[in-house]
């Protein structure tokens, strides 16, 4: 069964340009899907529709079988994790630990429970040594890891990453690839929006190609 199900979705910008018309798309719940396409083909808009940031003019979108039209962003965030192209937009506090734990704290969990969960995520992403440091002193690759860690605190079963390899050198790309492979081994599904064909080829990914008119050509590898 697919995790993300887009049925008959149409969307136009305020200024009238129609981006999608009656779009149908199914994204599998495991493995990697890559959404690719030239600038202006609507990749970002599609992502925003899936996340519920934009509401489609017509049609419906389902996550794990539920219509997102009824869900709040907070609820969607528990099903779907989203990594922004700029990870700095997802760094919310002045210590790595606090950045990962603040939502749990606000929800009222005890420090013990929080401590356990966060510490295990920290060691999983090799961020232990930075536990109490400021996230703003981390390198770009480390900030990205932190942002991914932050998303995983909610234990979503699916992740969407927006252009995660832009600006990364080979070593960091490899490391990111490792992280993603591990997540997929755990059963999480991943969608990447990217230009980077090389990165995607390593994963046996299902490729969804968007054309400038917002139509899809699928290319199964």
């Amino acid at each position: 069964m697919s995790f993300i199900s887009i049925k008959g979705v149409s969307y136009s910008y305020d200024k009238g340009r129609e981006v999608f018309s009656g779009l149908d798309l199914e994204i599998a719940r495991s493995g990697m899907t890559a959404i690719m396409g030239p600038n202006g083909s609507g990749k970002t808009t599609l992502t925003k529709l899936i996340l519920g940031i934009l509401r489609p003019d017509s049609g419906r979108i389902f996550l794990d079988g539920d219509d997102i039209g009824d869900m709040s962003l907070g609820q969607i965030g528990c099903l779907l994790g989203y990594l922004f192209q700029n990870p700095e937009l997802q760094i919310f506090a002045n210590s790595v630990f606090e950045d990962l734990s603040f939502v749990l704290k606000l929800k009222g969990l005890t420090d013990d429970v929080i401590g356990q969960r966060i510490d295990s995520i920290l060691s999983r992403f090799n961020l232990d040594e930075y536990r109490d440091s400021s996230p703003f002193n981390l390198s770009f690759g480390e900030k990205q890891r932190l942002a991914i860690a932050g998303i995983l605190v909610n234990e979503p079963s699916y992740l969407i990453l927006d252009e995660p390899t832009t600006g990364l050198d080979f070593k960091r790309k490899d490391e990111l690839g490792q992280v993603l492979k591990e997540l997929m081994d755990e059963g999480k599904g991943i969608t990447v929006i990217t230009h980077d064909r090389e990165f995607v080829d390593d994963f046996d990914a299902e490729i969804v190609l968007l054309s400038k008119e917002g139509r899809i050509c699928r290319d199964q590898k």
Binding site: N39, S139, G141, G167, L168, D169, F170, K171, R172, H195
Partner: protein
């Protein structure tokens, strides 16, 4: 006069040693490229050359950096800007004017260039980067690649003889990158000396010389035999 001459350059920032004895010379009319992993100090090297270090960013600097024979620490950034132009990585934070024309005029205006000449410099710079039709447009609506071309034009309007490109292609798509690389080749033909800092090996096709920055030192590589495994994974 050698455009850039660096001898025994050391730089530390907050107790971290970044550059540990850089020796480098940039020849006139050549494109040299420095590659290396993120965080190895490539941008730091650029900043030391154009004067951002030590004039804007402070740290522990020793050694000499000379631009056309003059020591960078002795010159003000404004003076240096007439000799070295630098194009940064992020197209959005280099452009701040409402039209392309205003943006390209900014540099010469600061240097008190007379209005007639500013006009011809704007024309010339936009022609070199192939953006003459965009003169009255808002930079805000351009693509990343086009924005970088305007940033380059804005730097060219000051007529520097040396150009630094600090990872200028890393946020640009392939099409945009190819256009920018063509401009770099045109600039080389015009006699400008160019230093690019890169982490993507496929942008090295226009380089005359490639150097690896590793552990704070520069090492010349054979530009025909660069493989990422050799360069980035030996330890």
């Amino acid at each position: 006069m050698i455009p850039i001459s660096i001898k025994d350059l050391h730089f530390s920032y907050e107790d971290k040693k970044i550059l540990r004895g850089i020796e480098f010379e940039l020849e006139k009319g050549k494109i040299s490229s420095v590659i290396g992993l993120s965080g190895c100090g490539k941008s730091t090297l650029c900043y030391c050359i154009c004067g951002i270090i030590p004039h804007i960013i402070e740290g522990d600097l020793s050694g000499t950096v000379k631009v056309f024979g003059k020591d960078v620490s002795d010159a003000r950034i404004a003076e240096l800007s007439e000799k070295i132009g630098i194009v940064f990585q992020n197209p959005d934070t280099q452009l701040f004017s409402p039209t392309v024309e205003d943006e390209v005029a900014f540099g010469p205006e600061n240097l008190c260039v007379p209005r007639q000449e500013i006009s011809s410099r704007i024309e010339e710079s936009l022609r070199i980067v192939g953006m003459s039709d965009f003169r009255k447009r808002h930079p805000h609506n351009l693509s990343g690649g086009e924005k970088q071309l305007i940033a380059i034009a804005s730097v060219l309007a000051i007529k520097p003889k040396i150009l630094l490109f600090d990872e200028s292609l890393s946020q640009i798509d392939d099409e945009g990158s190819e256009r920018i690389k063509e401009v770099m080749l045109d600039l080389k033909k015009m006699g400008k000396s160019i230093l690019t800092v890169e982490h993507d090996l496929k942008n090295l096709d226009i380089s005359d010389e490639v150097l690896l920055l590793d552990s704070g030192k520069l090492k010349v590589l054979d530009k025909n035999k660069i493989r990422k495994e050799d360069v980035f994974y030996k330890h």
